[in-house]
């Protein structure tokens, strides 16, 4: 089944989580954090390649950082992002049970699909 990709992220890829900022951050802090991450990604620093979100570590790239910066510069979109930023990050909630989580790498692990970097 097809579902529309989420072009205005809610919980997934929330701009505050991507830029590792709190909902009360200033515009200057947004620019500083975004530019720092772009520079780190530009030199392929591992620390910048993932960020910690409510669902655990997620990949981060330059495009996502730029889109997050754009979202937080827009007052309307920032308000919406603040709404979602109220969800605590992964490990903080004891009620999250990862037991039933999927195994996205199953086909690669069983040798049916070539994994990257093999």
């Amino acid at each position: 089944m097809r579902a529309d990709p989420v072009d205005t992220p809610g919980l997934l890829d929330n701009p505050f989580h991507v830029l590792e900022l709190s909902p009360g951050c200033t515009p200057m802090e947004i620019e500083r954090a975004g530019n720092k991450l772009l520079a780190m990604l530009g030199v392929n620093m591992e620390a910048a390649a993932t960020y910690r979100g409510p669902l655990g570590p997620r990949p981060r790239d330059a495009d996502l950082v730029r889109r997050s910066m754009d979202a937080l510069r827009d007052p309307d979109r920032r308000v919406v992002a603040e709404f979602w930023a109220a969800v605590p990050l992964g490990e903080a909630d004891e009620d999250v049970d990862p037991m039933f989580a999927p195994w996205p790498e199953a086909l690669e692990a069983l040798g049916w699909v070539r994994p990257e970097g093999r």
Partner: protein, 492 residues
């Protein structure tokens, strides 16, 4: 008395006997209508056996009988060359040897040697880490597409990264008749892995239940899924470790210890071990604030499809407090998660209705467009090459599967029941006409039968007795000349 001549005589007699039985029973080569297709592999195979007899006799004579120690194992493998493919060619990635071995297989692939060749070479290409086409012949129009060819094409598509296309083809292959066990095991493992990717652990258990000796992958997936779901036959720690060790010695062996894929497998094994000692806590008290409860439930739903219903219920409580933009994001994110469910989750509340409606409407539109295009093409007698026809069939079947789940499900919610009937009305005429064209004009009897089996299950699910009877008749008519089937053909 020298037993060697006796051994040779017995082997030759067995081979001739098998050949004679197959010749008389007419089950040797696929037939198409009343015509019996030419059977090149038989003459090649028999020439191969004859050459072996001569060479073996020479070896034994020249070595004064000691050569029988070499000749007998060679004979065992030569009579069923599939074992050369399975034990030697596939693990080493020798695609050409695998292809030839499959083509000469007279027992495992006796009904589908061309398919066996395609399957074996694709398997060798995948397991042997080779690139490029792996001697899969794009079957010309004169050749009937079979399950082995479909599975081989699917494996190569998966190797190239087209996982969705490969999954659709493999699911389509399950509708073909007379599939040998090696092909069934591979398909079961892939579909179980696909279910694991989506977190559908119940589906993993259903696919792997009686197949744990089929491969290390099947055994491991079953162990993990059974432990996570705490089924009755869930393995103990010792058995779990044994299957994990086998996986590490098998598919994972070529990966570096710090490779992300290997780490994910380690994490899954840890999860299964943790399930052994799982303490069932009483659920934490939900937050007093319904909005906070909805946000937490939303997060759980994004992690696991089993939590979708709870999230929809929580959002239903606070729906009138949501700004329109946030509401749109809730529906969009839950739709992305729900797209992995087979069938879509039931509609709970307005938001649930929107989530389901968004997925179902799009799916129905796509299906209707494809059915219309198929009808036009059939009327215009415009045929595609055989494997492209299979891909079309796989695409339609996969869309239906995504909308309503497995066709043989015994229980469906009322909305899905209505959806099944709507889908059947959409696809009945175009696909039935197309299947008939494939049989009558395109000489694709196996694909025709696979489509008819699929239509039969869909008709039964939709409760259409007239169509069910039609498809049963169609299967009976073509069954007279084709090889056997392991599907039930009794009336609904």
């Amino acid at each position: 008395m020298n037993p060697v001549p006796l051994i040779f005589a017995v082997m030759a007699l067995v081979r001739l006997g098998v050949w004679a039985v197959r010749l008389v029973s007419g089950e040797d080569a696929p037939t198409q209508g009343t015509r019996r297709a030419a059977s090149p592999p038989d003459s090649v195979y028999n020439a191969w056996i004859a050459a072996l007899i001569v060479l073996s006799a020479l070896v034994v004579l020249l070595t004064a009988g000691l050569g029988v120690l070499v000749v007998i194992p060679v004979w065992v493998l030569a009579v069923e060359p599939w074992w050369w493919a399975r034990l030697v060619a596939v693990p080493r990635g020798w695609t050409r040897v695998a292809y030839a071995s499959g083509r000469l297989s007279s027992w495992v692939w006796r009904h589908d040697r061309r398919g066996g060749a395609a399957f074996a070479s694709a398997l060798a290409s995948v397991r042997g880490d080779e690139d490029g086409d792996a001697w899969i012949e794009a079957p010309p129009d004169a050749v009937s597409v079979t399950a082995g060819m479909v599975t081989g094409a699917a494996l190569l598509a998966g190797r190239r990264g087209d996982v969705a296309g490969a999954t659709a083809l493999l699911r389509m292959s399950t509708w073909f008749d007379a599939r040998p066990e090696p092909e069934r095991a591979v398909v079961a493992e892939w579909l179980a892995a696909d279910a694991a990717r989506r977190g559908a652990w119940e589906e993993v258990v259903a696919l792997t239940e009686d197949r744990t000796d089929g491969s290390v992958g099947l055994a491991f997936l079953h162990a993990v899924a059974a432990r996570i779901l705490e089924t009755e036959d869930a393995p103990d720690l010792l058995e779990l470790e044994r299957r994990w060790h086998a996986l590490q010695q098998g598919p994972l062996a070529s990966l570096q210890p710090d490779h992300p894929v290997r780490r994910s497998a380690v994490a899954l094994a840890d999860r299964a071990r943790a399930a052994l000692h799982r303490v069932h806590r009483t659920p934490a008290r939900p937050p007093d604030d319904p909005m906070q409860a909805a946000l937490l439930a939303h997060r759980r739903a994004l992690m696991s499809t089993s939590a979708l219903g709870e999230a929809l219920r929580c959002w239903e409580v606070v729906e009138d407090r949501l700004p329109p933009r946030v509401r749109e994001q809730v529906v969009a994110e839950l739709s992305v998660r729900a797209a992995a469910c087979r069938p879509p989750p039931p509609a709970i509340g307005h938001l649930g209705f929107e989530v389901r409606d968004r997925l179902v409407q799009r799916g129905l539109e796509d299906l209707a467009l494809q059915a219309r295009a198929l009808q036009e093409r059939t009327k215009a007698k415009h045929g595609l090459d055989p494997m492209a026809e299979v891909r079309e069939a796989a695409s339609i079947a996969e869309q239906v599967h995504a909308l309503v789940g497995p066709l043989d499900a015994t229980e469906r919610d009322p909305a899905t029941e209505i959806l099944v009937r709507s889908i059947f009305r959409t696809v009945y005429s175009p696909v039935t006409d197309w299947a008939a064209d494939l049989y009558n004009r395109r000489r694709q009897p196996y694909l025709f039968r696979a489509l008819t089996w699929w239509l039969l299950e869909l008709a039964r699910a939709a409760g259409d007795g007239e169509a069910t009877a039609l498809y049963l008749r169609n299967l009976g008519v073509s069954r007279g000349w084709s090889h056997g089937t392991d599907r039930r053909v009794d009336e609904a």
